[in-house]
Amino acid sequence: MAMAAPLVLHLLLALLLGLGGQSRAEPERDSLREELVLTPLPSGDVSATFQFRTRWDSELQREGVSHYRLFPKVLGQLISKYSVQELHLSLTQGFWRTRFWGQPFLQAPAGAELWVWFQNSVADVDKSWKELSNILSGIFCASLNFIDSTNTVTPTASFKPLGLANGTNHHFLRYAVLPREVVCTENLTPWKKLLPCSSKAGLSVLLKAERLFHTSYHSQAVHIRPVCRDAHCVSVSWELRQTLTVVFDAYTTGQGKKDWSLFRMFSRTITEACPLASQSYVYVDISRNGQENESLEVSPPPTSTYQAVILGDRKTYAVYDLLNLATFSGSRSLNLQLKWRQLQDIGSQLVPFLHAQRYVSGYGLQKGELSTVLHNTHPYRAFPVLLLETVPWYLRLYVHTLAITTKGKENKPSYIHYQPAQDRLRPHLLEMLIQLPANSVTKVSIQFERALLKWTEYTPDPNHGFYVSPSVLSALVPNLVGAKPANWEESPLFSTMFPTSDSSSYFVRLYTEPLLVNLPTPDFSMPYNVICLTCTVVAVCYGSFYNLLTRTFHLEEPKRSRLVRWLANIIRRIRGVPPV
């Protein structure tokens, strides 16, 4: 009883406080951070990565959560209804050229990519997956409803959950890529509507379709995952991360100069932070690899700089805090500009330690070969790469031709998982863990045969070809400099995409190019031609034959008049021929 009394009092107090308004009784349970990272790329392009993170200290999985503030209700309902543990969706146009642009914070394959971890409690994962992709297709105006068993795989070793997970049973994972998917304004519109500030205030005012799609690479993504609520990590918060990465070709549009400004890229400037955001930063990468610092100039001068080990290398960022009014001092708007003092030689760039390319070879329409070339440019360290290949069923792989060669010698993978395709049911799945020796090029090749489709299975434009989704490379790339484990909540968003475990290496996931394969395409007007031809043949041959068979022939006495016969007989008599 003595225990119960304070509890009752406590409850009563809570209720009384709640009467005045719940926010006074309780601190906000959700927060928003927005961030823009501008990185001048070695090739002269500029990449801009927007990240909007909504964190919600709530149990979304429980039914009955209905009070939504910053977290979009659409996605919240989705998580609770389908018991989603983690959801990652990206829609991408273009290809991130790792060789020339360096490692991305987070790459995405061309087209649409969706991977979802379901909770252990889900009984029929495939059904949930199908329904979930259908609903996402409605939310994001994308053709995700084309995700079915023929393009879904369950990777056994790749795509480990990015968020908190106790035990990872890959049976609850589904992964699909639609390489054909076009990304345009209609996908951006619903994505922007999920943002708490929509596109009205804050960094999102820069998101104008006519600029964002006039780029070499455009990738927008939604990541939902559970994260630690605090340092003890005993309870879960939900994190929604909306990222958008674009690469502007500043070099060509700037008449050979690599200078850029926000206004030139987005045709807009930043005027304020999103009023709902608790943090709003713009970072500009001003680190120069081994060059003197005076080579570039950022204006307005930053109030502070941030130094950290990002993607294995020490980087320096100029930081602009949009919530700090001093950032906008002088002018109403922030138009960041970067000028190069001296022209940098494009050739002397640092090639990233890991990059890959993929191509299809062979001639004719029957056989071919898929090749993936993996480069490890690290001078002295080998590292493992997990390669995942998904090949549609209509390319029949010859598994015995699988060859992995490094420096002319066979490289035996330490783990291999192959799931053969079934016609019209499921694709091939090939996962391999390959050790890449230092400073080496590894080639993974496999031959295939093209299957014939039924004529209704061809797309309306079959001569365009059929896409093969890109290979996925997951790797632990060694760091150039040692990194200290940083506090997640305090470090910028771009550095906390993947959970880090050790300080000597960092995790990257790279995608190769999607492939376009021509399948033997029938002449679709052939049935009509055949019908016309057969009809003609039937009409001519069968018709005349039928005519012959059904007609009876008999001789008919010519009927002539008596006068004619008499005249003819006279003539015959004269000729000496018997009369008729």
Partner: protein
């Protein structure tokens, strides 16, 4: 309470009732932040809520009206707020709730299964539909979130003029006749209906204006059936109609837009994310907030007919459904390459005029439209509507049978034509239309004379009940709701028992005992030693060895060593 027929108040940050649809399965009392008051197809909404049992807790939803008073027991049991301090308008005028039996038999309405991810009501939709003054009040999530609970409840009540109930007979042909034809009981109700207003004549004028069209919501299905870059003009056609209907107030959730190819982000488009209707590039018909529901390979005859007839798979999202009812005016616009009696889809299949006519008949039988306007811009377009036989369909076509429909505006920059002639002039006409304009269908018939179009546009009105002269353009192209705004406020106190304090209470015990951790992204050792696939059961090696030993022992015991030579 003047002329309020029905007002529904929902509490919630992001739960809305919109039109005849209820977003959430049952509006939870816990979601108290904002009220949205609207009144549309009262019966449908009430039926649905009743079926879901939403009237059991106070302050879920409030319906009230000034004309029909609720039977007392319903008023007291279901809708009266239990909280005495809640100052509500007198409870005498609450909506007549339909009995559950009535609901079952009610119309061809179908409530889609709540799919958990009901699309949130879009800001643009609100802006598109409500007058600008209302928009500033309901400006989507940011404002809502900014003005969250501690600022007190933000209340605005919209007074909604009475809408006809579908079966009351008011809808068609004026008021008095509708009343007179009914039974004495309903007549008296009608009288009450009339007398509750300050001046019947004033009201009658308004009512006549309001009921002239007889619809309560608008839907549009806009289809471009052509793939490939050289058919740029067909996409531009469809988008220009999309732009017009959106501008005139049909929200994106009520537009099903089908585009067979992507022109805006096509690599051949020199200005990505734009589709222009004119060479001078004034009007980007693609806009900055387009939502395409069916695109590229999804645009098939099958999907089109499924959308029309409502036979979509159960997991289809709301944006891909035509959720119209028997009070909906539906606009169907199609463009593509056609011939006498057919329209090609994606260069690989066709829909014939007979199939289309049958689909419309099915829609009519399933009460999926009230009136329909069909517009087609294709060669020999008139052949597509000549087989129609369902009532209340008006049809327009760009060309007669035997005529081609011609393109317009060749653009050297992109190398193809920008638009078709007929739609170009239709767009020019629609750009002049605003939500209050009185232009009627006869004006639309005159839009593109032969001198401009080269082809002869045709129209068919014999199936349509009303005189085209009385049919406003905005009856189909717009979604003009007669909404009146008052500044009268009602202060309601949140219901504490169901305010979602469960979070607070069970916050402590929610915590897990052991700390969670992030998964290693590339656990090399774990991957290498991953268990191989479980094989079918096999007896362990020791067991088999033992068995053989036993057999041998039994053998030697029986025959002894001397018989060994017979064995080998």
């Amino acid at each position: 309470m003047g002329r309020v027929d029905l007002a529904v108040i929902f509490y919630g940050t992001s739960t809305y009732a919109w039109g005849t649809r209820v977003q959430d399965r049952c509006v939870k009392a816990a979601e108290v932040t904002q009220d949205i008051v609207l009144g549309l197809s009262a019966r449908t909404l009430a039926c649905h809520l009743l079926r879901l049992g939403c009237f059991t807790t106070p302050l879920h939803a409030l319906f009230w009206c000034s004309q029909d008073c609720l039977p007392d027991e319903v008023a007291s049991q279901r809708l009266q707020p239990k909280d005495a301090s809640c100052s509500l308008p007198p409870p005498g005028c609450l909506l007549e709730l339909p009995s559950p039996m009535e609901c079952i038999g009610h119309g061809g309405e179908q409530w889609p299964e709540s799919d958990g991810a009901e699309e949130e009501e879009k800001e643009a939709e609100l802006i598109g539909v409500w007058p600008a003054s209302v928009c500033s009040e309901f400006k989507g999530r940011p404002l809502m979130a900014a003005g969250s609970p501690d600022q007190g409840h933000h209340r605005t009540i919209l007074k909604v003029p009475p809408f006809p109930r579908p079966d009351s007979g008011y809808a068609q042909g004026g008021l008095t006749t509708g009343c007179a034809s009914k039974s004495p009981g309903s007549l008296s109700r009608c009288l009450a209906y009339l007398t509750s207003f300050p001046s019947p004549s004033v009201w009658q004028d308004q009512a006549e204006q309001l009921f002239k069209s007889g619809h309560t919501n608008n839907w549009a299905v806009l289809v471009c059936t052509s793939r490939f870059w050289f058919n740029y003009r067909h996409v531009a056609n469809t988008l220009s109609v999309y732009r017009s209907v959106k501008r005139l107030g049909i929200p994106d959730s009520h537009i099903v837009l089908m585009l067979a190819d992507d022109m805006a982000c096509n690599p051949r488009n020199p200005k990505p994310a734009t589709v222009f209707s004119h060479k001078n590039m004034e009007l980007n018909v693609y806009g900055d907030d387009v939502e395409v529901d069916y695109r590229s390979y999804e645009v098939t005859v099958e999907n089109f007919l499924r959308v029309l007839t409502g036979r979509v798979p159960p997991s289809a999202p709301r944006s891909k459904r035509l959720l119209s009812d028997d009070r909906s005016n539906v606009l169907i616009y199609m463009t593509g390459h056609g011939g006498n009696g057919f329209l090609k889809f994606q260069d690989s299949e066709e829909i014939t005029n007979v199939e289309l006519a049958d689909a419309f008949e099915q829609m009519w039988q399933k009460r999926r439209y009230h009136e329909m306007l069909f517009i087609i811009d294709t060669c020999q377009g008139a052949s597509m509507y000549e087989r129609f036989y369902s009532p209340n369909v008006m049809a327009l076509a760009s060309s007669q049978v035997g005529e081609d429909s011609l393109s317009h505006q060749p653009d050297l920059a992109i190398g193809v034509h920008l638009m078709d002639r007929y739609t170009f002039y239709v767009l020019e006409f629609l750009e002049e239309i605003h939500p209050a304009s009185q232009a009627n269908m006869n004006d639309l018939f005159q839009v593109c004379p032969k001198s401009l179009c080269v082809s002869t546009p045709g129209h068919r009105t014999d199936l349509f009940q009303r005189n085209p002269q009385n049919v406003l353009i905005t009856d189909f192209f717009g979604s003009v709701r007669k909404v009146e705004l008052t500044t009268e406020t009602v202060s309601l106190k949140p219901d504490l028992s169901s305010m979602g304090y469960s979070h607070l209470k069970c916050h402590e015990d929610e915590e897990l005992a052991e700390p969670l951790s992030y998964a290693a992204q590339l656990p090399v050792a774990q991957i290498i030693h991953q268990k191989p696939k479980p094989k079918e059961w096999h007896p362990p090696g020791g067991f088999i060895l033992g068995l053989w030993a036993l057999i041998l022992m039994v053998f030697f015991k029986t025959y002894g060593i001397k018989h060994m030579k017979y064995v080998f």
